[in-house]
Symmetry: C2
Subunit: 354 residues, 2 copies
């Protein structure tokens, strides 16, 4: 007998998500996590509204930003029982040639909840025990955060963490974040925590105001400026602050063609452009500018589980503010919440709690 | 009194190059090199036929693949007198903050002959002594090459050398070179010398045949295959040879929109796309594929002078064949040679010798 559980299934793009009962049970190497919270990500909306295909056939429970408590553990994973955990958004197999060579982000046997396996819009989720990130509940309590809220560490925080870390951002660098939303806002805060001065660009004044109070030294409303004046404003900021005119770190987090064009247009000599957001759309760019500027563009798929503890530390140590950017909703309201996020009625990261 | 010298000036795009006499003299930190040979590069044709702007105002002598002998040396550079040298295509200043931090490719005070200063389509060229690459004349003689021919080490060889080196190609890797011409052909050979198995893609059967005999294990005529079948052919080759289906190293050397689209379309998980060729044209790509594949695109501007000796070693050690891919022409025939290279009458790298 497994645990009496339920989850909300996507049956087709745009069709109402449907509640389904299921027996949650842990197989070998697996655990059952009683979900505390699951964040609603742009990627979920891409599946649901834009027809981006999930790897697992529908019906499927979406949701890949999951925190909770381990309530059942299969053989080999008993050490997790009772622990508070974050489930990494991408779970590499840990055993293949790629994993052994440290290339876990491209493990071909990786499992992403809500894409390869049933996700976290559920009362319970069954996942491999390998790679879970333990949450220190004493520190969590001190931080004033709930276990549900740190669900968004998976993806919303760790994805920019990986991007900032991989790009090599350090003290005194200039970082530019395009798209200061669910992921980009944390990208601003992480880059700041790594020592950079940060410029945030968005088309939403409310988001810019919020991130201006949490890590961004300069905010630019892209809807009110053309590409040339945006670049000029950043160059002037860099000059006035004694930052370099070269080697800017640009993080494209909007996942929109307009944002990608803005980001690509900000290339300077020795720049690093990190492609963090996703869109199916193509953009027209002068690819040779990478050559002319001796610059690079780095794609980032998820974040290795090994880096989750360090990312979580930024939150628990108060270096990244999480509370102002999340809001709780009832899982049973998932259909309304999806619509409200899609129509930007909800502007903060929505966390669905069973 | 300087040395009685002459050079061929570009006065305007498309206008006949004009011979001009000048006094060649070395200032502080400079040398005068009696040119042995200067290679004709796609970049020269870009200035001359496509209106790409040189950094230095016209009139200007083009040519950035220069070898020769030092015949005069200014204060501080006397050690070079009489030596056979290759002049790096990009000469960083060596003194600025960027140079001190090892970021010489993006030094803002760098000098590129034939772009920032008068180039090598001349009897003599005046350049900074710093960063010259000495050519061991005994080894050169043993290799059967002329000093004029190794001019093309500057740029045609060192640029792909830097790209292959920076990308991190190693034994057992799969490298794919798009555009097997003046630069791409050497890219194939360098990647092979670094231990990779190499696939060459071009639209010119003669070039493919030539490079098939010098380092490429598989050649593909892009004019006879669509993007999908090219990728399938490479995947089949990788499988049959026991090479990885991931982490391909792709080198875009054609400097054409079609080549860039082909190269971008070959991204696989963990791929590295090196942008080596240049075109002013834009291309329409799904930039997010970098994210989805956890891949990266690296631009490469020139090659640090420090890497020239190692690149030259590949030639002198016979690991990179140079002779089959160059042909000598008289500098006085520069106008005809430019036209013949432009119209692909000359298919090998033309080296102009005074």
């Amino acid at each position: 007998m497994g645990i009496d559980a339920h989850r909300w299934l996507m049956t087709a793009p745009g069709a109402p998500l449907a509640r389904e009962r299921f027996d949650a049970r842990a197989g070998v190497g697996e655990v059952v996590v009683a979900v505390a919270g699951c964040g609603v990500c742009h990627t979920d909306l891409g599946y649901y509204y834009d027809g981006v295909r999930t790897n697992h056939a529908l019906p499927l429970a979406l949701g890949h930003e999951v925190s909770g408590r381990v309530v059942d553990a299969g053989p080999g994973e008993e050490r997790w029982l009772g622990k508070a955990v974050i489930v990494p958004a991408v779970l590499p197999c840990g055993e293949c040639d790629l994993c052994r060579r440290g290339k876990t982000p491209i493990c071909r046997a990786q499992k992403m909840p809500g894409n390869d396996i049933h996700g976290g819009f559920a009362s319970h989720i069954v996942v491999p025990g390998r790679g879970l990130c333990e949450v220190d509940e004493a520190r969590l309590a001190s931080s004033g955060l709930t276990l549900a809220h740190v669900s968004i560490v998976a993806d919303a925080l760790t994805t920019p963490y990986q991007a900032v870390s991989r790009a090599g951002v350090g003290p005194g660098d200039l970082a530019i974040v395009v798209g200061a939303g669910g992921v980009g806002g944390y990208c601003v805060q992480v880059a700041r925590a790594f020592g950079a001065r940060v410029v945030a660009i968005d088309v939403d004044e409310a988001k810019l105001a919020a991130i201006g109070a949490h890590g961004a030294s300069l905010t630019i409303d892209a809807s009110a400026h053309d590409q040339k004046s945006i670049k000029a404003a950043i160059a002037a900021f860099a000059k006035s602050e004694g930052l370099r005119p070269t080697e800017w770190f640009i993080f494209e987090c909007s996942g929109t063609p307009a944002g990608q064009l803005t980001a690509f247009g900000l290339l300077v000599h020795g720049a690093t452009l990190s492609v963090v957001g996703f869109t199916m759309a193509k953009v027209e760019v002068r690819l040779s500018n990478l050559m002319a500027f001796d610059a690079r563009a780095i794609g980032n798929w998820g974040c290795p589980p090994e880096s989750y503890p360090a990312a979580l530390d930024l939150v628990l140590d108060g270096k990244v503010a999480l509370a102002p950017f999340v809001e709780s909703h009832r899982l049973d309201d998932i259909n309304r919440v999806f619509a409200d996020v899609h129509h930007k009625v909800i502007k903060r990261r929505a966390v669905l709690e069973p």
